[in-house]
């Protein structure tokens, strides 16, 4: 076996874990493998998956984006306010996603130009933007949007079978895959994450790469916010709290290195699915919410430990 084949096999570790968990659950619960339950799981996963795709980029850079949950909340509140103010749902959604990209690029500017560690920069932004969401909404949820388009975002189906968020998630997955493997930008993300100094000396505009990455991360958080708001038919200023941790978990479970420069988007999708399947399976088996946390934490530690074991 060549080193390369071995590396490929290692990368598929998370996928094997996902398959194993699915097979196990299929035996334990008759409902698990049904079509409707499968799509349910994927729909629940879609929000975390989309945030995680953006998070994959910032982690590939050797950074992190802790502000995604707050960006999600601000964009949701913004979209809701616009719709309540009489603007069309399409425009409101578009503007909210743009705002997400704007907030993200602010992260990027602080990190790249201000030379602040990503952890600190986005931590500050997380708190700041949570405040903004509360200020804008005056602390209370904004509910009830009479828009067919908007309710389709979170609740619609394609071909009467596949939930729209799932289609969106898979489309985003394809776009990110392409972005990372086939484009100059993607290559520059890996190079900057691997060695910012070497990348810069090779003419990579590393500041621009960083700002773009955090902008994309912000936009993805906002997109996830639209789906959440649509499903709940309500924008909550407190929405998305703690989502950054789920996203980081998905990225790391998928095999992307927190040190930067190494990782892939497929792993992130698998990681997000793994978390979703576990949640769903434990629910189906009627495990108490308290024990669910214990189980989830154990799986995360186990998966990461196994991964380390294979590498050494």
């Amino acid at each position: 076996m060549t080193a390369q084949q071995k590396a490929t096999l290692q990368k598929l570790g998370p996928l094997l874990a996902l398959v194993a968990v699915c097979v196990g659950l299929a035996f334990m619960s008759p409902v698990f493998l049904t079509v409707s339950n499968s799509f349910d799981v994927m729909r629940q996963v879609s929000i975390n998956a989309m945030i995680s795709f953006g998070m994959t980029l910032s982690i590939l850079l050797g950074g992190i984006d802790l502000s995604v949950g707050s960006i999600l909340a601000v964009s949701s509140v913004l979209a809701a306010m616009m719709m309540k103010g009489g603007y069309g749902a399409g425009l409101a959604t578009g503007m909210a996603i743009l705002a997400g990209a704007g907030m993200g690029s602010l992260n990027g500017v602080v990190i790249a130009k201000g030379r602040v560690a990503p952890f600190i920069a986005t931590l500050g932004m997380m708190t700041l933007l949570r405040g903004v969401a509360l200020v804008l909404s005056n602390g209370s949820p904004i509910s009830g949007f009479s828009s067919d388009f908007f309710s389709l975002l979170g609740g619609g189906y394609v071909a009467r079978l596949v939930p729209f968020p799932v289609v969106l998630m898979l489309a985003m997955f394809a776009i990110f895959w392409f972005l990372l493997t086939r484009t100059v930008f993607g290559r520059h993300v890996y190079a900057t994450g691997g060695s910012a100094e070497a990348a810069k000396l090779s003419g990579v505009k590393t500041d621009r790469v960083q700002i773009l990455v955090y902008a994309i991360s912000g936009a993805m958080a906002a997109l996830a916010g639209m789906i959440l708001t649509s499903r709940l038919d309500s924008a909550q200023p407190t929405a998305g709290a703690g989502y950054e941790l789920d996203a980081i978990t998905a990225v790391v479970l998928g095999g992307t290195s927190l040190a930067g420069g190494r990782g892939w988007i497929f792993g992130t999708l698998v990681g997000a699915l793994l978390i979703g399947v576990l949640n769903n399976g434990l629910n189906l088996m009627g495990v108490s919410a308290f024990y669910q946390q214990v189980a989830k934490g154990s799986v995360i530690l186990l998966a990461v430990l196994l991964d380390r074991g294979r590498k050494s």
Binding site: T183, Y190, S195, A198, L201, S202, K205
Partner: protein
């Protein structure tokens, strides 16, 4: 003490790195171990110092068989190694480094007084008594850090000292100090294994030389009874025609003109011209501002004043990206942190600079990328199984060729080289010199900083000599010699 390694074999997976190698070093002798990159020198020394186990063969100490399970075992028996990448914790003090892992203590409380006194004692034994043991290691020059490592080895009661490329990042003066200490250790019965690529040094300081090639032991010679040609032939397995290939290039018009270049405090008033097809060597001590010239030209650090003209047109370079757009290339000094993204593949590294050339609307054309990479790998004779391998896995020489390949996809108008052959073996060096000559022939203007004076003298047309941030001379390389350049580089400097 005499250490004898007999029939040593070692494999990593399917790759046999050492095959029945013999090697012996006696007390009171300096024994050079040479061979091209990948010949197995490092592996052999890691076995001798206890870091690796052997698959076959054994080690005898004064005729008695021993086994090392760890470097601690080897140290306990008096064998210590000083690695090329020094093993210091930069933030800790000199004495903390000296006694790391074996701090004198009472019930876990460090006896600082004792530590201070003993550290100072060992340091004075290597002529470094003036170092304040409370300083953080990172405040010392590489040369002084090395002396601290040697002092540490002595404090471990080392009878055999392995030194892996100890002079790679030392200035000439520091090398002089190091050699004096090595001679002193030798006279006190310490055996030294000296791993180096620098032939001049071996003939200057070593008593014996052993040669490895492709994991085999080729032979041992007494230095006084052999010569450069024989050793190189043993190393590369063939006659090396020319160490420094000749360059016959018609010198063209002025390409790069630098006028009164000054940065934020390291270099002042640098002015020179380089013509198409010309190689301008830059010599001087470490810290004299040689690398700084290149970094300033390339936009890595800020230019405070002065003008840079390329083909007669003034350049406004604010960043490396600007420099590359203008047609400059830069082979940096530290290939591991600046030249390469170690976790990426050969392919991804080679095309990083000119990726736009292989892409349309931001999307990479994978076929043209693969073709270009293959061509460049052939052209530069990069020896690797395939282009998808991480560059981390390559030998120093091949890594350096990858760094060159990055810049050759689009031949640069001006190529800046900083220590272009550091850590590269004899065969690899000759190939890099050929590449430099080919680029000059294609009309590039080349500026080359190097600490190896023979290299500067042989490869340059003219040599710019730096001293304390200022340029003190530009000499014709044909008419110059080492003494002349060293004098210019050190004249008026305070003796330290």
């Amino acid at each position: 003490m005499k250490v004898t390694m007999k029939g040593i074999s070692k494999s990593f997976g399917p790759v046999q790195v050492l095959d029945g190698v013999d090697f012996a070093v006696a007390g009171g002798e300096i024994h050079a171990l040479v061979g091209e990159n990948g010949a197995g020198k490092s592996t052999l020394m890691k076995i001798l110092s206890g870091a690796y186990s052997t698959d076959g063969g054994g080690i005898l100490l004064d005729g008695e068989a021993v086994t090392f399970r760890s470097t601690r075992d080897a140290e306990a028996l008096g064998i210590a190694i000083i690695h090329q990448e020094l093993n210091m914790i930069p933030q800790l003090s000199v004495m903390d480094n000296l006694f790391l892992g074996r701090e004198p203590n009472r019930l876990g409380v460090i006896e600082r007084g004792r530590m201070r006194g003993e550290s100072a004692g060992w340091l004075s034994k290597v002529g470094a008594g003036h170092i304040d043991v409370n300083w953080a290691a990172e405040t010392l020059s590489i040369g002084l850090q090395q002396l601290v490592e040697i002092a540490k080895a002595l404090s471990l009661n080392a009878r055999v000292l392995i030194m892996d490329e100890p002079t790679a990042s030392l200035t000439d003066r520091e090398i002089g100090t190091l050699f004096a200490i090595m001679t002193d250790l030798k006279s006190r019965g310490v055996g030294i294994v000296y791993v180096s690529h620098r032939m001049e040094e071996i003939f200057k300081i070593c008593d014996k030389v052993s040669v490895l090639r492709d994991g085999h032991f080729v032979g041992e010679r007494v230095v006084a009874q052999t010569g450069f040609d024989e050793i190189v032939k043993m190393m590369v397995g063939r006659e090396l025609k020319e160490r420094f290939p000749k360059r016959e290039v018609a010198i063209g018009p002025v390409r790069l003109k630098v006028d009164d270049l000054t940065d934020d405090g390291h270099i002042t008033g640098i002015h020179f011209e380089v013509r198409a097809g010309e190689v301008m060597g830059v010599a001087g001590l470490i810290g004299a501002g040689r690398s700084r010239i290149l970094n300033t030209l390339f936009g890595v650090n800020r230019r405070v004043s002065g003008e840079v003209l390329l083909d007669g047109k003034p350049l406004a370079i604010e960043s490396p990206a600007d420099a590359i757009a203008a047609g400059l290339g830069f082979v940096t000094e530290d290939r591991k942190s600046q030249g390469l993204v170690l976790g990426l593949s050969l392919r991804e590294n080679i095309t990083l600079v000119h990726l736009k050339k292989y892409s349309r609307a931001g999307i990479i054309d994978r076929e043209s990328e693969h073709i270009a990479v293959k061509d460049l790998m052939d052209e530069l004779q990069i020896r690797a199984r395939d282009a998808e391998l991480e560059v981390k896995a390559l030998s120093g020489g091949n890594q350096q060729k990858v760094v060159f390949a990055k810049w050759l996809a689009e031949p640069p108008k001006v190529l800046l080289l900083d220590e272009p052959t550091r850590g590269v073996d004899v065969g690899g060096k000759a190939e890099i010199y050929h590449t430099i000559n080919r680029l000059a022939a294609a009309g590039s203007a080349i500026v080359m900083v190097s600490s190896e004076l023979p290299e500067v003298l042989a490869m340059s047309d003219r040599i710019l000599v730096m001293r304390e941030g200022r340029q003190v001379a530009i000499v014709d390389a044909k008419a110059a010699n080492q003494e002349q350049i060293m004098t210019a580089a050190t004249e008026g400097l305070r003796a330290s």
